[in-house]
């Protein structure tokens, strides 16, 4: 079967699965989730899984990932392990408001929604949609467009649960929020979760997302996260992807920013099989600024593809993307950075950099900027490099007695440090530096006290 036929088959299977499970889905969900389902599955039938013909997926073999026989579930499965025994975050000073998702489901070891005295609400999105339907409804599907993106349509058609964080107007929290996504099962699994973050006007939030896979099985995650950042609000969002080489991930984040809002969105990819990160940013009010960063380290046959799309819809906004990659063995990587500056978006500043290091001749990196500028008063720059470690710097280090391996590690670490130093949650930053160091050394960069030692 050709690739396109296979993808068509996958699309048909998933659509059929929808038909057979529609009643159960609808019965179990809030009307907020149910409302767009039919429309979403119709779009999915037309759009399908993005294949070879899709400009935006040129570098990622989606077919290879989707054609595996994963188990799919409409309802949460009983977890036969005790997650508490298996997982607790070992970043010592990272005292956070924790949300645990296991296989995409809110893990019921605590009330599904926490309501803090300062008005903050966090926990399960399914529960939030039942208890606060209006709040969820005014943002749900408003930013992630299921009429153009097949994977979003698929996620929307099946959406049942995920994380929810709400920060009220002018609110804030001393602690950061930590979302831990755990994959834990006795079978290969297809997982979809849907997340919503609302940071109201003038509010401030820091969110740390950690993706882990605890069983050495095949996974495919198709997650969609919608993020609303109101007028003059601020969000720092850090995503640490530390799964194993059999975990494939399609992660789409949609960030909607109002006037004078500030967002830092940083994705650190340490481990994974085939990883695709989509970050869509809409700067929807004057004076908004967005910084989207990423560091990815890939070896063996891993593949990391970062796609960003920043829409400058209003004047006076600033955006920057800075992605760095280190590719070893036969690993492959890709970066696409699309910037759209609309006609009215005068005085836009948009900057983009993508620097990559290839450690072997077999490693490959594709990088492409896509700039569409319709305003005339714009400051814009972009640059990309694909190269090796600096031979002069290596020699310099070695003349001081540092062996070649250690010198390379120092240089690679320094390369990644540029992204990590911008992490404003200190204990997390230190931990990331440490994980990156271990990762570069080829040591298992898993949380030390996790008793599950995944084989891959």
């Amino acid at each position: 079967m050709s690739k396109d036929d296979t993808l068509q088959q996958v699309t048909t299977n998933l659509s059929d699965w929808y038909l057979s499970s529609r009643d159960r889905l609808t019965k179990a969900s809030s009307p907020v989730f149910n409302a767009p389902r039919t429309e979403a599955i119709d779009h999915f039938r037309t759009l399908g899984i993005p294949g070879r013909g899709n400009e935006n997926y040129l570098y990622t073999d989606v077919q290879k990932v989707f054609s595996q026989p994963y188990k799919r579930h409409i309802d949460p499965q009983k977890i036969i392990f005790s997650v508490e025994d298996l997982f607790h975050c070992d970043i010592p000073e990272l005292d956070t408001e924790l949300i645990l998702l296991v296989n995409g489901w809110f893990y019921n070891n605590r009330p599904p929604l926490q309501i803090l005295p300062n008005g903050i609400i966090y926990g399960s999105l399914a529960e939030a949609a039942l208890r606060y339907p209006d709040m969820v409804k005014s943002h749900y599907t408003k930013y992630a467009d299921h009429s153009t993106e097949g994977l979003v349509a698929l996620n929307t058609a099946f959406a049942r649960d995920g994380t929810f964080i709400y920060i009220p107007k002018n609110g804030g929290n001393e602690k950061a929020f930590q979302i831990v996504n755990i994959l834990l099962s006795t079978e290969d699994l297809f997982v979809q979760h849907r997340n919503l973050v609302i940071v109201e006007e003038g509010a401030v939030a820091r969110i740390v997302v950690c993706d882990h896979s605890l069983s050495a099985l095949q996974y495919l995650t198709n997650s969609v996260t919608e993020i609303y950042v109101g007028k003059n609000a601020e969000l720092h969002y850090y995503k640490l992807q530390n799964e194993h080489n059999l975990s494939n991930q399609f992660s789409s984040s949609y960030i909607h920013q109002e006037r004078d809002s500030r967002v830092v969105f940083n994705t650190v990819s340490l481990h994974g099989g085939i990883v695709r990160n989509n970050v869509f940013v809409k700067l929807n009010g004057q004076g908004a600024s967005n910084e989207t960063l990423g560091l990815f380290l890939a070896d063996q046959n891993q593949h990391v593809d970062n796609y960003t799309f920043v829409d400058h819809a209003e004047p006076d906004c600033t955006s920057s993307q800075n992605f760095k990659g280190v590719l070893d063995d036969q690993a492959t990587g890709a970066f696409t950075g699309r910037i759209l500056v609309r006609q009215d978006a005068q005085k836009t500043e948009a900057y983009q950099v993508n620097n990559n290091i290839l450690l072997t001749d077999e490693a490959q990196m594709s990088t492409r900027p896509q700039l569409e500028i319709y305003a005339d008063d714009v400051k814009c720059s972009h640059g990309a490099t694909v190269g090796q470690l600096d031979e002069n710097a290596l020699f310099y280090l070695r003349t001081r007695g540092i062996d070649s391996r250690e010198a390379r590690l120092l240089l690679m670490h320094a390369f990644g440090h540029e992204i990590l130093k911008q992490v404003s949650v200190k204990p997390l930053q230190e931990r990331l530096e440490d994980l990156v160091d271990k990762r570069l050394r080829g040591e298992l960069s898993r949380c030390n006290n996790c008793p599950v030692q995944c084989e891959t």
Binding site: A393, R400, G401, D403, S404, A414
Partner: protein, 254 residues
């Protein structure tokens, strides 16, 4: 300590060193002078282990051991130090981390335990004082954004930290103001013992007022064409290189 015999080296088929002979004994200071492009930096890079150049003939021994087979880090651990003419900027690698790694690598080679954090910091403080390097510099990335003079001072600081047996200082004086020159020379002299040796590469006689050489060599077109005492530097300062170049034309035409 160091014996170079008939060393020839080329890059991309261009022969740059055309038969160098040189012997440096413990306790000696040698100066190498010579016009631009004569091969001084090439020679020092080859001694430090740069593999960019192909050694086509000759041999180099350091304390009786064939040096050319050793990787740069092993040469460094055995006590060879190169002060770069153009020190390399390494963004993201902190001076402290760099020096701690380097010092401990060298100690490991000498079967010494790693320095404790406090001992290391103490050593840093002492050596910083010795070469009067600005404290702020060592909390930055290696050479990043350092001024020309600061980079040179940093080379001497690293030399002080690593305590080499043979230091090759490639134009450490270029770019230094007169006060900095004195401090750097003072630092170098303080590090001088009867057991170690120094090769200074320079264009200026001035430096040799402060670091007094036992021997001066003139390198020209890949050969040492003249060797003499420190009065040779004055002669060069006065007359330039033309009088050395003249008789050499004949060699070339042979």
């Amino acid at each position: 300590m160091l014996i170079i015999k008939n060393l020839r080296a080329s890059i991309e088929g261009n022969e740059i060193l055309k038969g160098i002979n040189l012997e440096v004994k413990a306790g000696e200071v040698h100066a190498i002078m010579g016009p631009n492009g004569s091969g001084k930096s090439t020679l020092s890079a080859i001694l430090a282990g740069r593999d960019l150049y192909q050694v086509t003939a000759g041999e180099v021994t350091f304390e009786g051991e064939n040096l050319l087979d050793l990787p740069p880090e092993v040469r460094a651990r055995k006590g060879i130090f190169l002060g770069f003419q153009y020190p390399v900027e390494i963004p993201g690698v902190s001076m402290v981390n760099f020096m701690r790694t380097a010092v401990n690598e060298v100690r490991k080679f000498r079967n010494l335990p790693d320095l404790s954090s406090s001992d290391f910091l103490k050593m840093m403080r002492e050596k910083k004082a010795l070469v009067e390097i600005d404290s702020g510099l060592t909390s930055r990335s290696v050479n990043e954004g350092f001024s020309g003079g600061e980079k040179k001072r940093n080379e001497i600081f690293q030399m002080a930290m690593l305590e080499p047996k043979l230091a090759i200082l490639d134009e450490t004086d270029s770019g230094l103001d007169i006060d900095a020159l004195k401090t750097v020379a003072y630092g170098v002299n303080r590090l001088k013992t009867p057991q170690n040796a120094i090769i200074v590469i320079t264009h200026y006689q001035r430096l040799l007022d402060y670091i007094v050489p036992d021997v001066i060599h003139v390198l020209y077109q890949g050969r040492i064409v003249k060797t003499g005492g420190k009065e040779l530097a004055f002669e060069l300062e006065e007359k330039g290189y033309d009088w050395i170049k003249e008789p050499n034309r004949e060699i070339e035409n042979e």
